[in-house]
Symmetry: D2
Subunit: 344 residues, 4 copies
């Protein structure tokens, strides 16, 4: 059945599979000490224009979030995140499990407001009693956010300035980073991100890989013995080649960007289709996730012919649902959806 359920319903892009098959017989050392991993890290640093960055390959997003946050924060520090942040809401308290508070600030279409972060910090350092409080040591943002929205370059610069002013780190969760970079409505490039964030990651799992996220630490930011810390967090892969080969492929000949661009192009077609059919968009998402308001009746009619994700209920008659495109979504898929929607 036609499916827009998520961007991780398929296996991997065929070039990735091909590369895994092609390299399968190579005898390689484990734990990331292999030439594919080395090459992948080099290619990523090139794409970031950050030759002195440190790149590490981990398996999944929550794993990255908890390993990075726990190893960069001091024991008395917590991480600022929007109330809808993945680390705030949907990781079963993985950050708290490492001993650190997620300091939740209001979200605006999934984003933190730089001015509210600044105000929080002003108030914090103005409070005589802050010796009894968790010190904010990091700002966590996702880009795209959980609602598909994006920070502007100006907002990222402001967040970095606040971070610098108050001795915090700026950390970007890029589980869907490719879709952010290829959006038609962004002024933020990968080198911008590499320059402005102390640490961020480039999502593979939701952008065409079987698994894997590439963490990029700006020069000098990576914790000492980070490989050991990954092991301690259960985040070091014995057959590191599995990650190395995939990211090597994604960052050869711009595949990562091509994959992402396709998803964006299809998402734009999807958005036009939805609007032309008279549906209301819940949020103005410039990336591959589109959030639509449907009545229960509409939802009932569509769901027998096409898969999508239930997001949340608005009132007794209407819900928000999500349609996601991916590397594999075709214009034919959008056309098929058009027939369904117009027939409903």
């Amino acid at each position: 059945m036609l499916s827009f359920e998520s961007d991780y319903i398929l296996g991997a892009h065929e070039k990735i599979l091909d590369a895994l098959v092609r390299t399968n017989g190579e005898q390689l050392s484990g734990y990331g000490n292999d030439p594919h991993t080395e090459n992948a890290c080099r290619l990523i640093k090139n794409a970031c224009h950050a030759p002195e960055a440190d790149v590490f390959l981990l398996m999944g997003g929550t794993q990255v979030n908890k390993t990075v946050i726990a190893t960069l924060l001091k024991p008395y520090e917590g991480v600022i995140a929007p109330t809808t942040g993945h680390v705030s809401l949907h990781e079963v308290g993985a950050i708290e499990y490492t001993g650190h508070k997620v300091i939740e600030l209001p979200q605006h279409d999934g984003k933190l407001s730089p001015s509210e972060v600044r105000e929080y910090m002003n108030t914090f350092y103005g409070d005589e009693n802050n010796g009894m409080m968790v010190v904010p040591g990091m700002i966590y943002i996702s880009h795209p956010t959980e609602y598909g929205t994006l920070y502007t370059l100006s907002e990222l610069r402001e967040l970095r300035a606040i971070a610098d002013e108050y001795g915090m780190r700026l950390f970007m969760d890029g589980a869907r980073l490719g879709y952010g970079l290829m959006s038609k409505n962004t002024d933020v490039t990968l080198p911008d991100i590499a320059q402005l964030c102390h640490v961020f990651y480039i999502g593979g799992t939701k952008v065409g890989a079987l698994c894997g996220e590439a963490v990029v630490f700006a020069k000098g930011v990576a914790p000492t013995r980070f490989h050991s810390l990954m092991k301690q967090h259960g985040a070091l892969t014995a057959k590191g080649r599995l990650l190395g080969v995939q990211f090597e492929t994604l960052f050869t000949d711009g595949l990562y960007f091509d994959i992402s661009r396709n998803a964006i192009d299809r998402a734009e077609e999807l958005k036009s289709l939805l609007l032309s059919c008279g549906y209301e968009l819940f949020i103005a998402s410039p990336t591959n996730q589109q959030f639509v308001v449907l009545t229960d009746a509409e939802m009932g009619r569509i769901k027998d012919k096409c898969r999508f994700s239930f997001w949340e209920r608005i009132d007794s008659e209407r819900c928000v649902v999500r349609f996601a495109t991916s590397y594999a979504t075709t214009s034919e898929d959008i056309a098929a959806l058009a027939r369904i929607l117009k027939g409903c």
Copy 2:
């Protein structure tokens, strides 16, 4: 100087000191295995009308909060607390340090709203995605709250009903419990609390003791090997007599209640005085902490003659300050304050 700075500016009530002196030469076993501790626990259970409760004596409030919460929650559970709760704000993330999320709900004069807790739980269990979320396993309240306010018997009953319905524990932080019990505006008794809370503690440090808090677990609630868990948390006192003798004294001949009643009586006089002088109360506190709105000019005039606590700034000209009474506050102190306020 006349001081209403806090309820812990003095040492201990003289009967407590006398008892420490009187028993000083007794040869006693350590770690709470002494007759004074045993007697204190018996007296507390009697006062609670809870002969089958389990009582443990610990040193301080944060220590109690983290030890109780960490040992009662399952690994995937967190604790619901108001945004202004002590565990939310003023314990340097001690709860998160034990691996558990504090799930912050809005505060209303320092209190949780039972209906908002219920709504949160309904939404939580209605969310298909809650397998990715921290499960609320406990409701934390303080009584009196950080703003001196109190829950009604009806509210406590409702919170307990919600806790039972959703498999949560109800935990009351009673750092200032005596002042709550002796308030003129409460319908809640100690046996009510012992019946309605799965666990609560009776504060000593802020109610006339040098140190110490008595944790009361309802029948069957105390974790297995709680003494060992106290040790693991650095919360087991070698000379347990220090706590045993103090609580034995506090719960002999109603001293705990007498101390608390004096603070309440003086607080009522203080409140009348403040109102008669035309000051605005920031909040209607029925306990020993009174929060007053002062202009900067008023604050400046008073603070040379009398100590109080700065609480928070309202606007560019006005602040909230706190006056606290205690076991040692006398009517003469209130009269002296009257002279100061009227002279200012």
Copy 3:
């Protein structure tokens, strides 16, 4: 170059790769809610003769060890392990990071001695002071061990009896379980293990998969909300199919056992070759890892022609090295090694 460096130098068995390619285009739900994962778990339960077991698929061994141990132990409990156990020595303190002590007992060829475990428990429960001590709540063993050795059925039965007697869980780390099961010198079957262990895992990474370990909990042993706990530990894979498809393949038509048997057959040939060449075996390993004593001179001559792992130094002239076979080792490889060894 001919390599016996480890059993994870290659990618995956070709049937696994084929299955990943074949299923790549299927639209599947994430987080293990897909039919391949379901089928893999069913096949594993069948192979274990344990229809009521609970099976979960995780990414790697350390991840399994820390997630299983942390979620089964009570806060005051620790895990007994041999001093050479993987959790004792080579996981950067991953177990302690979750808050639990690894109680190290002496190792004998990599194994715990059941009688020493029993003696430890007798002493522990005979010690009046054990309220200040970590309670042993689990026995961790690996099978094969880090030295390739195996427990006998009788030893496993005794360890389980001790565990039952003292309220402990018996946990088997089976990172190389297949090689243990297919050994010529074992009386232990997979159903025996499923019956005797409270929990164990079937290693994939070192037995022909790209990644993945299958954790099997005996009936009723799995922690509540284990999926959520996996997420909290960063151990839940978004594209669960990656694990599901691999284990489905390994447990279809006995592939897991065939792979393992090949490694054992080659290891036996290897052992004969080594002995016939006059080398001394460091330990009598009945599985796919063979530990050989070499002089520095011998090591120097061989290592230009064939890869192996340095294990440890014995004295100023001699070392222990490891030769490992795998699913892909052929009789031709052994013959090639024979030519090298005889030429050296």
Copy 4:
């Protein structure tokens, strides 16, 4: 009954009680911001000849151990301790609960052997595989040890040299430090300790106080925001005066040393008595704890007339028991014991 059960069977030295009574009515700020605490810290720094040290007052020994170790170690580090160390054995895994491994090395009369520590470190840094291992970041010793024994100045110097060589901290648990300093058989002074240890603590609870341990960090060693970290660990006392007044008293006019000297003098008398009665000393303890070998028959006869502590069983007929002296032990007590022993 005559009792040598422990050095914490009584309350506090009378000068301490007097000081608590005398200062009880002073209005003082909380959390250690009071002049008695300030003065106590100054006096301690003077006694240590360490004007630039940082001194903090905590409640008890396990609390100090876990707070100091957890806040000084990096996430991938563990602490070396003897197998009989308090942190290894008798704190219910409090150190592991903070996420760090206790690396247990052999004990020799309760002590670490510097040469064995050095050998461990050599081996560790010579191991190619140490990226998978916990890095030793601290050496924990107790002085006196759990067996009453003492390090020599030369041993302490060697441990410090090893610590410096390998980037470790040297931490001394001084729960009974006074008895070590006043021993007839020591060449170690308090300024020596302050110079050689990165951090140590001066025990109060077992040396005449009701509670309290004074942690001394050498210049520059104390973690940033240590007061906040104490709060996070539940180790910050609201009425800090309770600790400040006690340590102020102990370090005025040499009371701490006088108390300790009395215990040592009585212990020497006790040792002579035991030897003259023909009893065998289990260990040659130069401090206030004496370990004696008794047959079951002897133990039975004595225990009706005098209290002591059972330590451990040697064989089916003999045990080790402990006699401890304290600030309050008198020569009359020793004479009374002589009558008992000679009558038995």
